[in-house]
Symmetry: C2
Subunit: 246 residues, 2 copies
């Protein structure tokens, strides 16, 4: 397998054109992988296109590649699923972003909920979204996806839920919640979906009510109780399996 690089500059019908890799990709190619002019690589533009390419110019900070033939990119999930997830403590979001990208998430929406233990200001100050975007790219490089899922700016839960959904909206809740719920098994395959996952402390009652009013369906993973950081992976897997889209 050729080494793969992210080349967002590459257009759709770009064969034989020369594109420049972003600076961190160039550094990776030149300094970590020690590639040289003439080496073959693969590049993907993050929008679903991938090519075999050759390095035509390489310094420590700049790498140019000539796109040769287009190659068939990895198959994307048939049903796009956006993962909307309350930001967890510490570095746990890093793994959530990494694994969600590998499991085919179409996008990631970080949320601040009532019981989220980190505030919007701290997330902004820490450039967390930029970090998660870099992780999404690196995860695509590892798992072979040619589509880099969009990591959106963090939003407060209540302003996000008030916006029109990008498909069937499913809120993951604990089995005991005081409202009608569906088991993931019972959710018929939609054209597209959003799954909404809460923080370590769970959803506030008010949030569940607001979500229901905004048209979200409350779903459970059966009687299983999980740690918050395992829920996104388990929910994505269970839904893609139920929808026979894995």
């Amino acid at each position: 397998m050729l080494p793969r690089f992210f080349a967002p500059e590459a257009g759709r019908s770009a064969a034989e054109s020369i594109v420049s890799l972003p600076e961190d990709e160039a550094a990776h190619a030149a300094r970590v992988m020690r590639l040289a002019v003439g080496d073959s690589v693969r590049v993907f533009n993050g929008r679903g296109d991938e090519w075999r390419a050759e390095i035509t110019d390489l310094t420590k900070h700049r790498v140019l590649v000539r796109l040769r033939e287009a190659v068939t990119p990895a198959v994307e999930a048939r049903i796009p699923i956006v993962l909307a997830v309350a930001v967890l403590k510490g570095d746990k979001m890093d793994d959530i972003v990494r694994d969600a990208v590998m499991l085919g998430a179409a996008g990631i929406q970080p949320l601040v909920t009532e019981r989220t233990e980190i505030g919007l200001a701290a997330i902004t100050r820490g450039n967390r979204v930029e970090r998660w975007r870099r992780i999404a790219v690196s995860s695509c490089k590892q798992c072979g996806r040619a589509v880099v899922p969009r990591v959106s700016e963090t939003q407060p839960f209540e302003s996000w839920i008030a916006q029109p959904p990008q498909g069937l909206r499913l809120m993951l809740v604990e089995p005991g919640v005081a409202a009608p719920t569906q088991h993931v098994h019972e959710v018929a395959a939609p054209a597209s979906a959003e799954i909404v996952v809460g923080p370590e402390g769970g959803w506030a009652e008010r949030e569940v009510r607001v979500a229901g009013q905004a048209g979200a369906h409350l779903v459970t993973l059966g009687a299983v109780t999980l740690r918050a950081d395992a829920v996104p992976l388990v929910a994505l897997t269970a839904l893609r399996t139920v929808w026979r889209d894995l």
Copy 2:
């Protein structure tokens, strides 16, 4: 919800008997939770039985409880699944044990494979199995299970695979492996199963061949490429979902 403690001494028909909690459970009750004589708790024996109980004696190192009425324990998976998993680097196994228990694994078999980066001697020296057993108990306390899955002694892959399987044996492999594979969707529900997951570097060709000869079925998670530490959780979820046992 009453605080729950692990009381392996409690027999099946033990109502009104007095049992002693293990020392670390006693310390947790006395020093962390600051419970007192007369307080109500729940205790489970790790073999599927659970009671409401009352503390009758309590010091820093010893806690006795009188078992009152038996309570209905959390429902176990209908199809027992043992997770046999190559020991991963660092502390990653801790999370795998914790999450596999929460997802209902019936047992955990740590393995050393050709590409496992830690040897049997280091695992023994580090008392890793003892640590994973404590994690299994603490995970049961969190998730409500009254059955503590057995964490077996670490074994070399080839001696383990030569033993008779405890049910349908499924080896998780990468999509590109040079042997016939099934998609998890295609695996009919067995009476019980073992799922075998490799290390960061994957399976050696020889291991796949030996497993096939030992009757293991090679299965894939579709075209998805995951990090090794996400595979156990995703495989358990996908199979329990396919078998409608979540």
